[in-house]
């Protein structure tokens, strides 16, 4: 079943068109990645899915229902969580408050405070610190945990491994694998292929606000040279 989908969406920033007729979807329990260069429109797609951008045309679907008109907070309560690119940790909340605020929504599920602390033990150590005193990697863990604690059905992750040391990246990849294994769908945005090749079932390649290629990870492996051209040197 398709959990969350965009159907032929156009998005504008002021007068500049950022997305051109984008259609994509995430199935339940699936890991999907969006790959593309900086400025290709990947983050815009995520923001459109979570309701922070308004599509000028096209529809947003949740389990087949039209949810185009819902606000971000309503979408969040449906079971969509968002881990933004710049993490957007609340600087004036402690680490633990950053986590507890996600539980206020009241969605039931397998994730609770104790479990995310087990997943990222370093957060437990830092639970009383203000959110913005964490290192980049810790902030990323906090952002992911915050998303998890809403117990969503799909988690949207915007470049979760960007700018992080390889060791931390590995840790995060493991965590994402585990999260997915428990039944949560992931929509992963990345600039490079490193993480998507390890995790994703299906991939979309975005360039200049449009989907240039899509297919399974196995397909991508076959066409790898061509796709690398779209995203890199």
């Amino acid at each position: 079943m398709t959990l969350l989908a965009l159907e032929s969406c156009d998005v504008f920033y002021d007068k500049a068109q950022a997305l051109h007729k984008v259609s994509l979807g995430v199935e339940a329990n699936e890991v999907v990645s969006l790959i593309g260069r900086n400025g290709a429109g990947k983050s815009t797609i995520l923001k459109t899915l979570i309701g922070l951008n308004r599509a000028a045309s096209g529809r947003r679907l949740w389990k087949g229902d039209d949810v185009t008109a819902l606000r971000a907070d309503q979408l969040g309560r449906l079971g969509i969580a968002y881990v933004p690119e710049d993490r957007r940790i609340f600087p004036n909340l402690s680490v633990e408050e950053n986590l507890r605020i996600a539980t206020l929504m009241g969605r039931q599920g397998g994730w609770n405070l104790a479990r995310v602390y087990d997943l990222f033990p370093v957060l437990r150590e830092r639970s009383a610190q203000p959110g913005d005193t964490l290192s980049g990697g810790e902030q990323q863990m906090l952002a992911i945990s915050r998303g998890l604690l809403t117990n969503p059905e799909v988690l949207l992750l915007d470049e979760p491994t960007e700018g992080l040391a390889p060791l931390i990246v590995d840790q995060l990849v493991e965590a994402m694998r585990l999260i997915n294994a428990e039944g949560m769908a992931l929509l992963l945005v990345e600039q490079n292929l490193r993480v998507p090749m390890k995790l994703a079932h299906r991939q979309y390649v975005i360039d200049h606000g449009a989907i240039r290629w899509s297919g399974t990870t196995a397909d991508l492996q076959v066409n790898r040279a061509e796709i690398e051209k779209l995203i890199s040197v």
Binding site: A72, D73, G76, R88, F90, N92, E97, L104, M105, T150
Partner: protein
């Protein structure tokens, strides 16, 4: 010593007056010029309640609630429409509100002075440090301390405080966590109005209640808020103490310079730190 006590009572009055202003700024980014008008309204409504029920305490409880409801209404009907625009428009709108609230008050209560008597149990002065301290002043200190403590608990410890802080630092992110930021904003404006009216109700036994009273306090509020750092509650309490104590000492030794002392303090602070002693990006709400 009695100067210290009086200074404390001045400080807590200042804090009660300005807390709502800085709270609203911190959360909504709105400079609420109508804060003084809401304070005045708090005093008038509490007068009305005292007239009807004869109880100061009921006035102190219900006047802020009634004004808070009005604040919520104002936020929903008017302010909400201009959030997306430049800050200046919000300031202008609240400026227009002053005129409306002032005239509505005039329409309802007329011109003449109103008075709320000191509550019976607080009329007797208390002998302290070789001086007579009005027991109402001691009550103001205790009540002010209680309210500031309550405010800190609310903002720093409670679930609501967490939501308010989150929504003020990153509204969009808070939305994705299922928080209805619009409602939070309405709530915060109502809370700010509540605090303004609370200031009015608690000041009522100390001054004549009249139409100009809001006009005269707003500048004091701004001074506190600027010194403390816009939007910073902790800064506001610190600034209130600084200003209250300065005034108490000033009244003791050089009464006719007290007003200018206030501004000297302000300018001194700004020379030293242009964005206030505590910039509003600070950690606390």
């Amino acid at each position: 010593m009695s100067t210290l006590i009086i200074g404390l009572s001045l400080s807590f009055l200042l804090f009660l007056l300005s807390a709502g202003l800085t709270l609203i700024f911190g959360m909504l980014g709105v400079i609420n010029f109508a804060h003084g008008a809401l304070y005045m309204l708090g005093a008038y409504v509490s007068y009305q309640i005292v007239q009807i029920t004869g109880s100061f305490w009921l006035g102190l409880l219900f006047a802020p609630l009634i004004v808070a409801a009005l604040g919520a209404l104002i936020e929903i009907v008017a302010l909400k429409r201009v959030y997306s625009r430049d800050h200046i428009f919000q300031l202008l709108l609240t400026f227009g509100l002053i005129l409306v609230i002032d005239d509505a008050t005039k329409l309802i209560w007329g011109f003449d002075y109103k008075q709320v008597p000191t509550p019976e149990m607080l009329t007797a002065p208390v002998a302290l440090f070789g001086s007579q301290i009005p027991s109402y002043r001691l009550f103001v200190i205790a009540f002010g301390a209680l309210v500031s403590l309550g405010l800190f608990l609310l903002l720093d410890r409670s679930k609501w405080g967490m939501i308010i802080r989150a929504a003020s630092s990153d509204a969009d992110m808070a939305r994705t966590l299922g928080i209805d930021v619009n409602q939070v904003r309405t709530g915060v404006f109502a809370l700010g109005s509540f605090l303004a009216a609370l200031g009015g109700a608690i000041t009522a036994p100390l001054v004549p209640i009249e139409l100009g009273m809001g006009f005269s306090v707003i500048i004091d509020c701004f001074v506190v808020v600027i010194i403390g750092g816009l939007g910073n509650i902790r800064g506001a309490i610190f600034a209130s103490l600084l200003l209250g104590m300065t005034r108490a000492v000033g009244f003791t030794y050089a009464t006719e310079w007290v007003e200018l002392l206030t501004f000297a303090l302000l300018i001194g602070t700004l020379m030293f730190r242009p964005e206030g002693l505590f910039s509003y990006k600070g950690r606390s709400a």
